[in-house]
Structure formats: C-alpha cells, structure tokens
Amino acid sequence: MKELKIETRNLSFYYGNKLALNSVSFNMYANHVTALIGPSGCGKSTFLRTLNRMNDLIPGTRVDGEILIDGLNIYDKDIDVVNLRKKIGMVFQRSNPFAKSIYDNITYGPKINGIHKKEVLDEIVESSLKKAAIWEEVKDRLDHSALGLSGGQQQRLCIARALSVNPEILLMDEPASALDPISTGKIEELIFELKKTFTIIIVTHNMQQAARVSDYTAFFYMGEMVEYGKTKKIFTTPDKKQTEEYITGRFG
C-alpha cells in the first residue's frame, strides 16, 4: 500500500498580481519519487517552494488553497514553519553552498538541531558526502572553503547538506543540471536508495531522467498542472495532447 505524504488542494500562488500557480491539486506518496516537468517558467520551482514555505520569504506573495503533509495543512496559523522546514530537505536550482568550509557546510543543519558531538558530526559528514557521491573528491580537504569547489561539486555538496538533517521529504530542483554523466548516474542511484526512506519530489528538464527515476510525473504548463499520473503512463500514453507534445520535444 502506498502512503499519502503530501496533498495539494486547489493550490494557487501569486507573485503580487501575477498568478504563478493556478489551482493545482494532486498527491505525492511516501517512498516514491514524483517528477515535476514542464517548460521553463511554468511554475515548477514555485510549486516546490510552496511545499516548505520558502515562498513566504518573498514579499508580496500570496497562497490560496491547501497543502497537507501527513494530513496537516502546512499553511495553518499554528504550524511552526521552522519545524516544518527541518522535516523537508531542499536542493536549490542554483547551488548555494555557504561561504564556509566543506565540513561546516554539512554540519550546519545538524548543529542547528542540537548535535554537537564531534564523532557524531564526523559521521554525518562522511555519510552525507558519500551518499551525494562527492566524498572521494573532498575527503582530504574538508576544511577548505566550499566556494572553491567546481559547479558540479558544489551542487553535490548541497545535496549532501540537504541529507545531513535526515529529512522525511526531499525537494530537488534540477539537482543534476550541472553534473557530468557519471555524477548524474550516481545521483540517480542515490535517489533510488533514498526513496526507500524518503518522499522525493524532483524537478527536471531531462525527460530521460524523469522517466528513469520517478514513479509519478506531473506535467506543468503556464502555472497549471496539466496532467499527473504514473510515470510509465505519462511517458507512453499521456491523456493530453500538450503533455505528449512536450515529452516528445515538439514544444517547450
């Protein structure tokens, strides 16, 4: 039986007067990977950021509708946003390591959660970096600044950082856009590994990748969720013409 983890109900989102998401409703299941696809500017990142309420930080924005995580509306008044975000890891579209050492980048989240024992932190650093397929490259320079890493390395570091706090849900906004095929392969393996314990939502522009890693796919177009279903179905016999055209590369 699959367990419902996240449910959006008539979710609309506005940047000022601009409607960026229009009444989006669908479900995301625990231990499954849901891929969000669609042309640039269609609202994928916006949608992802409503799930951990990162959009709250942008002045002049507004949310309508509901997002239920484990049955609770995260936009309820008495929801503690900080606690909510502790449960949800996020890998941003543009990699954003802290101007700190590689080690401190990974221990940042655990320390916030009150973990200060050196052995425990060391352990977290190693396992997080290994999961994100970057351990071998950085293990000898953990005290170097993270800003000295290459773009692809920074992106994997950010993945490791998101894993460091053991979130229940992992939001990934094009985590492999700056990676070479080998690291991309490793990240995809990681996603397979992680979905045993996490709920994963991933934005990707790479159709093959979406088809490979995801169980469910939602196709967005101009702020609307056009079609949603099992990835296999979406990629073989989509119901909507728009979906088919996008997937086969005829527009977008």
Binding site: L57, V82, I88, N96, Y108, G109, R161, A162
Partner: protein, 297 residues
C-alpha cells in the same frame, strides 16, 4: 557636430586630469612641507616619550596612547550598536516603514552634523545630564562623573562615527547572497540563527571596514572631545574611565595656538601631524584593501 563633441570631450578630460593633478600635487606638497617641517623630530623616541619642558621638547606618547584608548572605547560602543542598527534596518524593518525611514533620516542627518555640535551635545547630555545623575545616585552628589573624561569623550565620538559603521555594515550585510540565507532557512534555521551564523560571518569584512573607517575618523577629530574629555597636558596616562586624556589632534591644536613657545615647537607640531596622518592613512588604506578583497569574493 563631430568636432564640437570632440572638443567638449577633450575639454572634460583635460579638466578632470587637471583636477586629479591638482589634488595629488596639493597632497604631495602638504606631505613634503610636513616632513621638512618635522626636521627629523619624527623618531622612535618621539613616539615613545612624554613631552618635556612645558611641551617644548620630548615626545607625544601620552597623546598617542590617549587617542588609541579613546578610539578603542569608542569602537566598543559604536561597533555593536551600529551593527545591531544595521541588522535591524536590513533584516527586520520594512524598507517603507516609518521607523526604518526615520532611522535612515537620522543616520543621514547625523552624518552631516558639524562635529562641534557633537561636542556640545556630549557636554550637555553625557556630562551635565548622565554624569550629574550618576554622581547623585552613586557618589552622594560628589563630583566624579559630571566632568570631562575619556568615557564621555569616547561616547561622544561614538555618536559621530555611528553613521560610518551603520552604512558599512549595511552594505556588507546586503552583499550576503539571498541564496545563502535561503539555504540556511531551508535547513530549519530560524531567522536569528541565519543572521548569526550566515549573515554576520558573511559581513565580517564589512564590519571590520566600518570599524577601521570609524577609528580613522575618530582618531583625527578634535571638536567632539574638546569639552568632553581631552586635556591640555597630563603627567600621567589615564587609568580609569573617569580620567581625562591627551589626544593627537588636540595636541596639534594646542601646540600651534597655546604653546609656551609656538615657534620653537614647530618641528614637534609637524611631527605630530605626520604621526596622525600616517595613522589615518594606514587605517584608511587597510579599510580599502579589505573592501577590495570583499568585492572580489
């Protein structure tokens, strides 16, 4: 058309070049005058010795020491206060709110108030008001705090340099990328944790630059400390916050106007000026270097 444009362009370049030349020439001329005027008075001894024979001979150590101590106390007051204000303005206040607007207006105004006004304010507020209050409360009305001292002078100077600190720190805080704050918040950090662990460390060089600029400004000012704590001559170094102190700028002023022998002490005046110039020059240069490094990042 083309030729007239060329002529205006050439003219502008000429005027700019001339201005630059003029400024540099004046600077070099002043420096040369000062160095010649110092007549070899400028030496290690000069920096480390007390004045002698009614300040017609000897060194300027107490003035140097007093200035240093004053700017340290000033920084201890101005830097945390300025940093907190800058954090409030950039992170908490809404850009358009009345509070934020009035703070900004106050900071801008503070930056253009003539420094003598700060001196008068310090006299009225710190010495007459706070000092008298303190004496009445802790000292049974006996005179201790209601008179000029290094604490009141430093605090007065802190008010004067506050805008410098606030502006530098604000600029530095704004240069910390939004993406880094987002990363911190997404990991479940509170706003305050994000400020403390990401924003302030990211703004460290800016805070340092602000501090150095404030110190270089404070080290050279005389008017604010004139009534609030600077002394003509002291045989002893200040040992308590309620002691008066000697300062470089004030020393130059009295040596050139009230010395027992103005002409004889000319080399000392020039040498003191040279010390003050070198001090502020070094401070400003290091502030610029830090800023350049900050921009590169």
């Amino acid at each position: 058309m083309k030729t007239s444009k060329k002529i205006t362009g050439g003219l502008l370049i000429g005027i700019t070049g001339f201005s630059v030349f003029l400024i540099i020439a004046i600077l070099i001329f002043m420096l040369v005058m000062i160095i010649i005027g110092a007549k070899g008075e400028f030496s290690w001894k000069f920096i480390t010795q007390f004045p002698q024979n009614g300040m017609t001979q000897g060194g300027i150590f107490p003035a140097l020491f007093g200035t240093a101590l004053m700017v340290i106390i000033m920084s201890v007051a101005a830097v945390p206060f300025g940093t907190i204000t800058a954090i409030y303005l950039t992170e908490y206040a809404h850009e358009e709110s009345i509070i934020s607007k009035s703070i900004r207006f106050a900071v801008r105004t503070l930056a253009v108030v003539p420094s003598i006004i700060f001196g008068l304010f310090g006299l009225g507020f710190f010495i007459k008001f706070i000092g008298t209050g303190m004496d009445n409360m802790f000292n049974a009305g006996q005179l201790k705090w209601a008179q000029p001292n290094i604490l009141w002078a430093s605090l007065t100077m802190a008010l004067l340099t506050l805008p410098v600190v606030i502006v530098s720190v604000e600029e530095a805080i704004k240069s910390v990328p939004r993406e880094m704050r987002d990363a911190s918040l997404a990991l479940g950090a509170t706003k305050w944790q994000t400020i403390r662990k990401v924003v302030i460390p990211g703004a460290r060089s800016g805070i340092l630059t602000g501090t150095i600029l404030a110190i270089s400004r404070g080290a050279g000012e005389v008017a604010p400390i004139l009534f609030t704590g600077a002394a003509y001559y002291l045989a002893k170094l200040p040992t308590s916050l309620s002691d008066q102190f000697m300062s470089l700028g004030y020393h130059i002023y009295i040596m050139s106007t009230q010395s027992t022998n103005v002409d004889q002490t000319l080399p000392i005046q020039f040498a003191t000026t040279l010390v003050l110039l070198l001090l502020t020059f070094t401070l400003n240069l290091s502030a610029i270097l830090i800023r350049v490094r900050l921009r590169k990042k």
